[in-house]
């Protein structure tokens, strides 16, 4: 049963049911489409714990061998087990679980990407230069949009917000739509290559 042909056939049938259901009103196909989409959500639910299992493998090995900063691995696994246990007993609606979510997960997640504010400023200063027509156009448009976004722009010149809106709704819209159509065609082509069994990254599979 290792046959890749069978796997491609499964992929093909599931995709076909959904595509047919989109265009034709056939009762049993519609029912099948609803059913398999719900199957998909069940399999996806199970997949949510894959990362945790992976982390257990990597970090328990690191702790066993006392490799690198193994004490951080202890912290990682402890937090993971404790919060998971709380969640399974207390459910995600519980007060204890929400304490961890609101005071650890949320602030850390928020701070992780907040650092980008620093990095974008530093890159703006040290690297973003108008040394070609491309980058010159980009930086001018970016500056106008920034002045249209920040309230101080309106105080400097009341026209900045409307110029910003024009940039967003006319040239930006046109370019993004071109990219979107091209990207959409690319996505369909990728789907077809998968259905034809040419692209089999998901079947190639590898450890971890």
């Amino acid at each position: 049963m290792k046959s890749q042909g069978l796997m491609i056939a499964i992929t093909f049938v599931f995709a076909l049911i959904i595509i047919i259901d989109a265009f034709f009103a056939i009762d049993f196909i519609s029912a099948a489409s609803t059913e398999i989409q719900n199957w998909g959500t069940i399999i996806a639910s199970l997949a949510l714990a894959l990362a945790a299992v992976n982390l257990i493998r990597i970090h328990s090995r690191r702790i066993r061998l006392r490799r690198g900063e193994w004490y951080n691995s202890v912290a990682l696994l402890t937090v993971m087990f404790v919060q998971t246990a709380i969640g399974l007993v207390n459910r995600s609606t519980g007060e204890v679980y929400n304490f961890g979510f609101n005071n650890i997960m949320t602030p850390l997640g928020a701070t992780m990407y907040a650092l980008l504010a620093f990095w974008i400023a530093s890159a703006a200063y040290r690297a973003f230069t108008a040394r070609s027509i491309d980058s010159a156009i980009l930086l001018v448009a970016a500056t106008v949009v920034m002045l249209g976004n920040a309230p101080i722009g309106e105080s400097i010149w009341s026209a900045f917000p409307s110029i910003k809106t024009w940039i967003m709704d006319v040239p930006n819209m046109a370019a993004q739509r071109g990219i979107m159509i091209g990207g959409g065609i690319g996505a369909i082509a990728l789907g077809l290559r998968i259905l034809m069994g040419i692209e089999r990254g998901h079947l190639g599979g590898s450890d971890e």
Binding site: T11, G87, G109, I120, T143
Partner: protein, 197 residues
């Protein structure tokens, strides 16, 4: 109170990365990865209760046992020599994903976008929009000779229009990223130190 302090220590721990990568940063980062993984497990479990256990136990919807069992095969990848088993649930997920992408994309991202571009060339804005969409499409037209003047000119225009779009993206990205830091500074100064009115 304890919660705010925990959050503040964690926030400062991650922010210390800006000064220098350091052991405290790495510790906090590990804690974050741990709690994030726990959240996925808990929400996955609850999603499973809603979607599989309840229908099976309460409504006798035994057909849901199929995805449940096939889905468990995802974990075969952790057993040497059994990795191939985990490709069955993947084929199902990919099949559904491809089906949804293909049928959704053609309407939402292709036909409806083209349809919305069918405007009369009676205003400057319409002309720019039409020119923009066409020239960007031609920029991404790859199988052609380098000497094709129509394509070369139009793809240069396409490139410039894209640069304006990237400028817009850039400007909004600055706002987004500053907002993220504003959130943290508001927390530190307000909730933690109580300096904001």
């Amino acid at each position: 109170m304890i919660g705010t302090w925990l959050a503040a220590i964690g926030t400062l721990g991650l922010m210390s990365f800006a000064i220098k990568e350091n052991p405290f940063y790495r510790f906090v980062e590990h804690v974050y990865v741990g709690i994030g993984a726990a959240h996925s497990v808990v929400m996955g479990w609850e999603s499973l209760q809603t979607k599989a256990f309840t229908p099976i136990a309460e409504s006798g919807d035994y057909i849901k046992l199929i995805p449940l069992l096939v889905g468990l095969l995802l974990y075969a990848r952790f057993f040497k020599g059994k990795i191939w088993l985990s490709r069955y649930p993947m084929s199902i997920l990919v099949g559904i994903g491809v089906g949804l992408t293909i049928k959704g994309t053609i309407g939402a991202q292709i036909v409806n976008q083209i349809r919305a571009t069918l405007v009369p060339l009676t205003s400057i804005n319409n002309i720019i929009i039409v020119l923009g969409v066409l020239s960007v499409l031609m920029f991404f037209y790859f199988t052609r000779k380098n000497t094709n003047a129509l394509f070369n000119t139009s793809s240069r225009i396409g490139r410039y229009i894209m640069m304006i779009a990237f400028g817009a993206l850039f400007g909004n990205a600055v706002m987004g990223r500053m907002s993220l830091m504003i959130g943290r500074v508001q927390f530190l100064l307000g909730e933690w130190l109580g300096l904001l009115g």
